[in-house]
Amino acid sequence: MSTATFQDPSRTRRVRGGSAARGPVGAAPLERSRRRMFWAFTAPAVIVYAVLFLLPVGYAAWTSLYKWDGISDKQWKGLGNYKTLWQDPIFRTSLGNTLQTLVVGGLITFVISFALMLVLREMNRRLFARSVLFFPCLVNAMVFGIAAGVLFSPDGPVNQALKWLGWSRPPQWLATEHLQTMILGTLVWTATGYYTAILMAAVDQIPDYLYEAAELDGANAFQRFRHVTLPMCWDVISVCAVLWTVSSVKIFELILMYGGSSGSQPPTGSWNTALYVYEEAFPQASTPQLGLATAAALVSLFLVILFTVVLRRIMRRDPVEY
């Protein structure tokens, strides 16, 4: 796409087959003014992004190499913080939880989202159903964490309903060892609506004639799904996988407030890396360990990069044209 405003004149020249290597008279100043305009338009966003986003990321990488409490001088530690992290059982648990959320939570979310999408497509009033399922992802996850605290409390609604159904010894939902599973479940429930909506938007763009052609060729419902639906929305699925990676790594408030009655800090068994960063950098009782905390944050960034690269690799296919 090209326009008169930001157009690259060299392209125009090439199209015209112009033999003049320097272009028509007057093109150079025009091109200069266009380039100036380009920078004038982009400069504010670039500056804001550089100062408030890229610079902090760089500063985090640098701080992660020091031991620092935020007040006294920094002490060089090199990669020592990363080593400390690796030896810290709490960090290992946090990393394990993060990975579990990313991989297990991701798989469950995708299977459910895909199934929901397939069912919703054939339903009446599907837009209404989609809206209701979508809504939870617009709400601060804290809300559901607190609500779960009441819903799953020992005498809470869920247990009373189960008792009424004849299950008198329900599990202790909010016990520390179940917390991570409960958080995962809540997360999957809030996220599926969002991914279902993305998949629906993608599948809606598949032209009907492909299905008709497949049907004429004698493909049954499963074959149509396998050979039309799946390949046609493969790109969107791979983007969704990356989206999930990023969003699952930065989950914070859901864990912080889950159950609503966990005291001033949630039990370490339910932490993920984001919570680890927060608790190490801004602890209630001990000295802040900013170097260690930023190192933990960097680990979560590496995790995102690693998964993004690997996912892109695995899921790359030749683009389908339609």
Binding site: M1, T3, A4, T5, M37, F38, F41, T42, A45, V46, Y49, L52, F53, L55, P56, V57, Y59, A60, T63, V119, E122, M123, A129, S131, V132, F135, P136, N140, M142, V143, I146, A147, V150, L151, D155, P157, Q160, Y194, I198, M200, A201, A202, Q205, D208, C233, V242, K250, F252, L256, S264, A274, V277, Y278, A281, L290, A293, T294, L301, V304, I305
Partner: protein, 281 residues
């Protein structure tokens, strides 16, 4: 709409039923939260499914008076509105330039913005805390607004670039032939056409700023500076010390939740489209 081929099969009917059960459960959950916020605390644990017999606003009075939710709500509105407006105002010209000028520089720039989408917030939170403290902007609304502005850049630029690319270039060509300058073309011709995209970008940014918790907790702590998620979390933490009042806690939850319900029932389609359509491109 695709023509109905045949009557739905039995598995499909069961699946459809299951979906409606989930939909009903979602609505029931939100309804239950809203109703419970009107009930007496001790009553809730005895009859969790009860209806407020004497609906009382006392819970809301309590969170607004003791929890500082009134001030926090005002702060949330100020921070969310200002940071989103600024984000759109700053990102729009950049996105337009990136959408129209396709060369190596703009490609690298778009790529750099897109990479920001992959950085989790916890990486920036400590550096921003330190940086804002150095600039005397810690525990202040301008500080929080700046933090949100930076966080908003990657997504807003990405979203709007996609949007501007979809606007036909013929429009500007006509304006340029009429002798309009580039700035004039952008403000008088492009922006009016792009209004829908700008509103979507604003809305999505507003929603994420409204719900944002990590930066708000780290960057603000005074009673008159905190936003709603911070007020809610400290209210819940204090409630643990003074004995839990579920009614008041749910009233606090509703103050965070209700604006999203209102916004979604009003502009739901636009929000869903903004969050889903650009994804595959």
């Amino acid at each position: 709409m695709r023509p109905r081929r045949k009557a739905p099969s039995l598995p499909m009917r069961i699946a459809t039923g299951a979906v409606w059960v989930v939909v009903a459960a979602d609505i029931a959950l939100v309804g239950w939260i809203l109703l419970t916020s009107l009930r007496d605390g001790s009553d809730i644990l005895r009859h969790p499914f009860g209806v407020p017999v004497h609906p009382k606003g006392a819970n809301y009075g309590k969170v607004f008076a003791d929890g500082g939710f009134g001030r926090a709500a005002v702060n949330s509105v100020i921070v969310a509105v200002l940071s989103s407006v600024l984000a759109v105002v700053i990102a729009a010209p950049c996105a337009y330039a990136l959408a129209r000028r396709r060369n190596r520089v703009s490609g690298a720039m778009s790529m750099t913005f897109a990479m920001g989408l992959g950085v989790p917030g916890q990486v920036m939170v400590i550096p921003l805390f330190i940086g804002l403290a150095h600039a005397d902007l810690d525990d202040s609304q301008p500080g929080l607004i700046l933090a949100y502005l930076g966080l908003a850049m990657p997504f807003t630029v990405y979203l709007l670039t996609g949007f501007f690319s979809g606007i036909p270039a013929v429009l500007e060509e006509a304006a340029v032939l009429d002798g309009a300058s580039m700035v004039r073309t952008f403000t008088k011709v492009i922006l009016p056409v792009a209004r829908g995209g700008l509103i979507t970008a604003f809305l999505l940014q507003f929603i994420s700023a409204w719900n944002e918790t990590l930066f708000a907790i780290v960057l603000t702590h005074s009673q008159d500076k905190v936003t709603l998620p911070v007020a809610l979390s400290s209210f819940v933490n204090e409630a643990q010390l003074n004995g839990l009042d579920w009614g008041a806690m749910f009233a606090g939850v509703c103050v965070v939740l209700a604006p999203m319900i209102a916004l979604f029932s009003w502009l739901g389609t636009r929000i869903i489209q903004g969050m889903t359509v650009g994804i595959g491109k």
